[in-house]
């Protein structure tokens, strides 16, 4: 960009009184300088503000995903920048005396112009001058370039297409959630979950759905698996309790039917014992069956009780089948439930009729204290003690142990390793026994062969011991 120049520059202050004309021209030069400075500072400050504005727009668009109306308030900064530029230019404008000195020096005016502010020139005013005003040149390149770049940056910040970061892709888990909802409904209907527990689980499902993210499906599927596992554990626990309940019901049903069928064939004592047993079973089951009294059980009541038990058992089985149909429990657990419900009341009735006397006798024996039950008595049977046996005349016979056939393994010496069985000489006893003075027993003794490489060590041993006493053995040859 071409430098701006003062159109009045370089012209001589042509007037009758050169000093007065020069003073007037210098004032104009100062105003011109302030105007140019204001324009330059305006460009610089506006460029800085527009850069900041563009940065704010860009940051907002990236973080929020779109432009907002309040971003246009950045326009307010432009008039503020102009005011600041004017104030700064006013401060930086050279003083009148400085510009006067500048003109004086460039014109080589002999000091009259600067003296005119301090003293009366008198007749010298006509002789002073002429003065040549300098031209002001402003460097527009930097501020204009900066302003252009700033405007370009602001435009790009407004118009640059940004990736839709906020459009989060939700994971398609509706089918899984629907299955879980059905399972929760079934568990609530079967009274495995209370209403508040079921509602809590449904709320968890909603949260999983809201927080599902296609960018990170692992967390969502993990949450779904956790819910599914929780439901399965609850169903499995209910199934285990159902197996136990069905088994108890089946046993009670079997006993009730057997007692009803054998009512005339068994003695009344056995009948009452069976009733007591049935009463205990019903008490263990609890619920509606725990309220019943066995004294009121006649043949019809027993049949009716058996029917109720059968209905309850079938109800539990149906519940388990429903849980299995919802894949909350596996087929094996359902099979266990079904097996637990099987009974044979006819066989039990026949057994009671045939063995009623024996059963009573055995039961009577079991009632005797200290005799135990069928085999060695019950745990709570009384303990009976007879005459105690003394320890007089009895004692342990002291028998000396035979000497060790081999020395301690720590004292053994590795003479070699081979894959074949070790060769031993059974005709010679070992010499390293701890009981050296004891006579070898009748067991086999191992005769160790002294190898030629050991002869030196053995020789030194006997030479040493000759000084302190007789060697215990003859040196080997």
């Amino acid at each position: 960009m071409a430098p701006d120049t003062d159109p009045r520059g370089s012209q001589e202050a042509t007037s009758a009184n050169h000093v007065t004309a020069a003073q007037k021209a210098v004032r104009g030069l100062r105003r011109r300088c302030r105007f140019l400075l204001t324009a330059r500072m305006s460009l610089l400050l506006c460029a800085a503000w527009i850069f900041a504005w563009g940065t704010a727009v860009l940051v907002w668009r990236v973080t929020s995903g779109g432009a907002a109306l309040w971003l246009w308030t950045g326009l307010i900064g432009l008039p503020a920048a102009l005011v600041c530029a004017f104030l700064l230019a006013r401060r930086r404008t050279p003083a009148y005396s400085s510009l006067l000195a500048l003109v004086e020096r460039r014109s080589r005016g002999g000091g009259f112009l600067v003296t005119s502010r301090e003293r009366d020139l008198g007749a010298w005013a006509k002789e002073a001058g002429p003065y040549q005003l300098p031209r002001l040149r402003v460097q527009w390149k930097r501020p204009a370039g900066g302003a252009a770049l700033a405007v370009l940056f602001l435009g790009l910040a407004w118009l640059l297409p940004l990736p839709q970061a906020s459009a989060r892709q939700l994971l398609d888990i509706d089918r899984s959630l629907e299955e879980l909802a059905q399972q929760i409904d079934v568990l609530e209907e079967e009274q495995i979950y209370r209403e508040d527990e079921a509602q809590s689980l449904r709320q968890q499902m909603e949260e999983v759905k809201e927080q599902s993210d296609a960018e990170d499906p692992g967390r969502t599927y993990e949450a779904l698996d956790h819910l599914e596992e929780q439901l399965e554990q609850s169903a499995q626990q209910a199934a285990e309790e159902a197996v136990k309940g069905i088994e108890q019901m089946a046993q009670a049903e079997e006993l009730a039917q057997a007692l009803a069928q054998a009512a005339g064939d068994i003695p009344s004592q056995l009948q009452s014992q069976g009733g007591a047993e049935l009463q205990e079973m019903l008490s263990q089951m609890g619920g509606e069956f725990g309220q019943m009294s066995a004294d009121a059980f006649d043949s019809d009541a027993l049949q009716s009780l058996a029917g109720q038990l059968s209905l309850s058992k079938d109800g539990l089985l149906q519940s388990m089948e429903r849980l299995q149909s919802m894949r909350l429990i596996d087929a094996e657990t359902l099979g266990r439930c079904k097996n637990a419900g099987k009974n044979d009341p006819d066989a039990l009735a026949a057994f009671l009729s045939e063995n009623s006397s024996n059963i009573l006798a055995e039961n009577a024996r079991c009632q005797l204290p200290g005799r135990g039950g069928v085999d060695r008595g019950r745990g709570d049977a009384w303990l009976t003690f007879g005459d105690e046996v003394g320890d007089e005349g009895f004692g342990f016979q002291e028998t000396p142990l035979p000497p060790a056939s081999l020395s301690s393994l720590e004292d053994t010496e590795l003479v070699g390793m081979s894959s074949s069985a070790p060769h031993t000489d059974p005709g010679e006893a070992s010499g390293g026994s701890t009981l050296g003075s004891a006579q070898a027993g009748g067991g086999s003794a191992v005769k160790r062969t002294v190898l030629p490489r050991h002869r030196g060590a053995v020789q030194r041993f006997f030479e040493r011991t000759q000084g302190g006493g007789e060697p215990s053995q003859q040196p080997p040859r």
Partner: protein, 359 residues
């Protein structure tokens, strides 16, 4: 005979402007300009081809300063001083400085003499008791002898055996030194250099000037002056010097110029920071102001302009700026430093802000 003057002849001229707030009118200034121009004209007529040098020497005389002339032998240093002595009609003495020259050879000494009153120590003034003293080849004298001139140059007085004797008014020392044959010389110390208002280089005359000299001067004898200046005329010129106005802008410019000659100054240009060890002293600023006034008077103006300062800046500052060894290695002289200083101040004169410049 000894004499003791307690009054400084130089202080006879008042230091404050005599005309108050008013500048000298053109008609008031005209006689002084005519006198000074006449001296210059005579000088130019007597010594050919030295117009600028003559103008500076006369400015130095009007500033009542001492001048150190440096130049090769035979370039006219002594002739210039002799011509000045003739023109100004002042007493002129010449001392050839040698290594065995003693202070008493310059200042004078007391000698026991038989007088009608009996024997007494009589003071015999030395050659320093004159108006213009030419100290020829001053750097050949010992420092002891050189320093004997210190008081004479600064105070215009001589103190011997406790008695202070004033030198004649006016008193100028015009010294010369040879830039070659430096073996056996004693360079002037900075303190003594600072007492010289100007250090002027008397350069070799060109072929045209030489042609004029040999064609118009037999044996190089310069013509006698056609017009001489009386001591009263010189005193009036000194008086006129007091009325030359130094504007504040120009005095500020002088202050900045001297301050910028110091490498520690914020306004010092790069060349000063690189090559200058010590800048000019406050005496340099005073010398610049006085010499600028003299130049303005010679130009016929009652006010000092920036161009007057620039004209004398080299002569005033070149011997007052102490350069470092780097300057010697890079062959940077004091005149180059002064020129850069002037240009740097020119660029900053108006304190124009960044991005705006005056062309």
């Amino acid at each position: 005979m000894s004499s003791s003057n307690t009054q400084d002849p130089n202080s006879q001229v008042p230091n404050s402007p005599s005309s108050g707030e008013k500048l000298l009118e053109p008609e008031e200034l005209a006689p002084y300009v005519e006198k000074s121009s006449a001296v210059l004209q005579q000088l130019d007529r007597m010594l050919l081809g030295r117009e600028k040098l003559h103008r500076l020497v006369l400015a130095g005389i009007l500033s009542r300063g001492h001048i150190l002339l440096e130049g090769l032998p035979g370039v006219g240093k002594t002739a210039l001083v002799q011509a000045l002595g003739q023109l100004l009609r002042l007493d002129f003495k010449r001392v050839q400085f040698t290594p065995d020259l003693m202070p008493s050879d310059i200042l004078g000494s007391h000698i026991l003499e038989e007088t009608p009153q009996g024997r007494s120590m009589v003071f015999h003034p030395g050659p320093v008791f004159t108006n213009i003293l030419l100290a020829d080849e001053i750097n050949r004298a010992s420092p002891k002898t050189q320093s004997a001139l210190l008081e004479a140059m600064q105070e215009s007085s001589v103190t011997l055996l406790g008695e202070t004797r004033k030198l004649p008014h006016p008193f100028f020392v015009l010294a010369s030194q040879n830039p070659i044959e430096l073996e056996g010389t004693y360079p002037l110390p900075e303190a003594q250099l600072d007492r010289f208002l100007f250090k002027l280089n008397v350069e070799h005359a060109g072929a045209e000037v030489l042609d004029r000299i040999i064609s118009s001067r037999r044996r190089g004898v310069m013509p006698a002056p056609q017009r001489q200046m009386s001591s009263e005329d010189l005193a009036s010129l000194f008086q006129a010097m007091e009325d030359i106005y130094l504007p504040k802008a120009v005095s500020r410019y002088i202050s900045r110029l001297v301050e910028a000659s110091h490498p520690q100054s914020a306004e010092a240009p790069e060349i000063v920071a690189t090559y200058v060890s010590y800048g000019a002293s406050p005496r340099a600023a005073i010398a610049l102001a006085e010499a600028s006034r003299a130049v303005a008077l010679l130009a016929g103006r009652p006010t000092v302009g920036f161009e007057d300062v620039e004209e004398v800046a080299r002569a005033v500052l070149n011997h007052r700026i102490v350069l470092n060894y780097q300057a010697r290695f890079d062959k940077v002289g004091p005149n180059q430093i002064v020129d850069e200083l002037l240009q740097a101040l020119d660029r900053r004169q108006a304190s124009l802000p960044e991005g705006v410049e005056a062309v």
